[in-house]
Symmetry: C2
DNA sequence: CGGTCTCTTGACGGAGTTCAAAGCTAGTGG
DNA sequence: CCACTAGCTTTGAACTCCGTCAAGAGACCG
């Protein structure tokens, strides 16, 4: 079990390749604080400043937006190997728009803004990593929005289930429904219809 | 009229501040190719690789997704001072998912992938700029998706019109409708209702 | 002007919502 | 270890917002 087996190392390696030395990664890792949470803990809350970016080592979490009716609308799900934060609040320092809640017991690494920015300033390589990371997230989000506006609920769910089978296993259905922009009752009916189609 | 009056300089300056020297900006600018297009020109097309990132100097353009029914669904609008591309295609080199079309006659600057990547590799400052640029775009997109899933069509339009009055002036209504995830007829009715509320 | 593209308006239809109630499941505490 | 409870899922029936179809008015360009 060396440093290179670390989940975070593998995450960086996917973007940076072999050019990431162990001492450099060690410096990177050293500014992250490890922490564990039970399920149903709030990592950050709407209205408070989100002070950290989180990297999940095990368990799962979800960021969501709460509208005036008090309904939760899932923004992002995060399993082990995923990054999650309220980007708006973290980078602007302003009160957060979203809440991040653990769905299962979680082990994670967290980094604050000062450490994040000094990592990026001190190392072109790390800034590059985060540029690519956010670029990929942007690309995926744009695709999701296009599908949300252009496709029907059923086909959005089918694509979601195919792309993220682990989410379907581990994330409660009412959150998946809100992620897809529909009500839990509707998702339940869609699943019922689909199981009829698959086993006629 | 110096280099610092250039629209692109001002765009970089907003992120990098005064630390951007004229010679450095000059080097940045030199890898962009200026070009003009009539209205209704396709800058890139679904199925073809998108080879450039575009920076609009004047005029307007729109990226959109076309679903199986052949309906256009606006992804992004770009006026002077905006960046636009098919991120997925540009960075992966794969066939594009979106089409980018000029809505008015356009003057723009374009940069290809090789030049983009070598700008980023050669200069930490430029990589930083693009990291912040995409980060801000991601933040805005996440907010848009949250609203799309959580709010009704009317309040989405009201917020859109308030946030982007220039778009309402210059972008055809059927594209704004698709941007908001509704049909042109519905947007027409929403506008009719709103004008009734404002002038009772 | 004449044609095409865009916007508006009306009547009808349907995907998804709302309301309500009854199962089901998993976490909690005795 | 089992019973209890709270929260999640399922299902039915009525409803509504938005979509569909259709036709006409207006705007813009060649």
């Amino acid at each position: 079990m060396t440093l290179k087996d670390h989940l975070l190392y593998k995450n960086l390696e996917r973007v940076l390749g072999d050019s990431l030395s162990e001492p450099e990664f060690s410096r990177f890792l050293s500014v992250f604080v490890p922490k564990s949470f039970d399920r149903k803990c709030l990592l950050t809350e709407e209205g408070s400043t989100c002070r950290y970016v989180y990297f999940i080592l095990s368990g799962s979490a979800c960021s969501y937006y709460v509208n005036e009716e008090g309904e939760k609308h899932a923004i992002q799900f995060a399993l082990e190997g995923y990054w999650i934060t309220d980007h708006y609040s973290f980078f602007s320092g302003r009160p957060g728009l979203y809440t991040i809640e653990t769905l299962e017991p979680v082990d994670l690494l967290m980094i604050n803004r000062d450490n994040f920015e000094s990592l990026c300033q001190s190392s072109h390589q790390f800034e590059h990593f985060f540029r690519i990371l956010i670029q990929n997230a942007f690309t995926a989000l744009q695709y999701r929005l296009a599908k949300t506006n252009a496709e029907e609920a059923e086909s959005r769910y089918v694509e979601f289930a195919k792309s993220y089978p682990a989410f379907v296993q581990r994330i409660p259905q009412y959150l998946i429904a809100s992620y897809l922009g529909i009500k839990p009752q509707s998702l339940s009916r869609i699943r019922k219809d689909l199981s009829g189609k698959n086993h006629p």
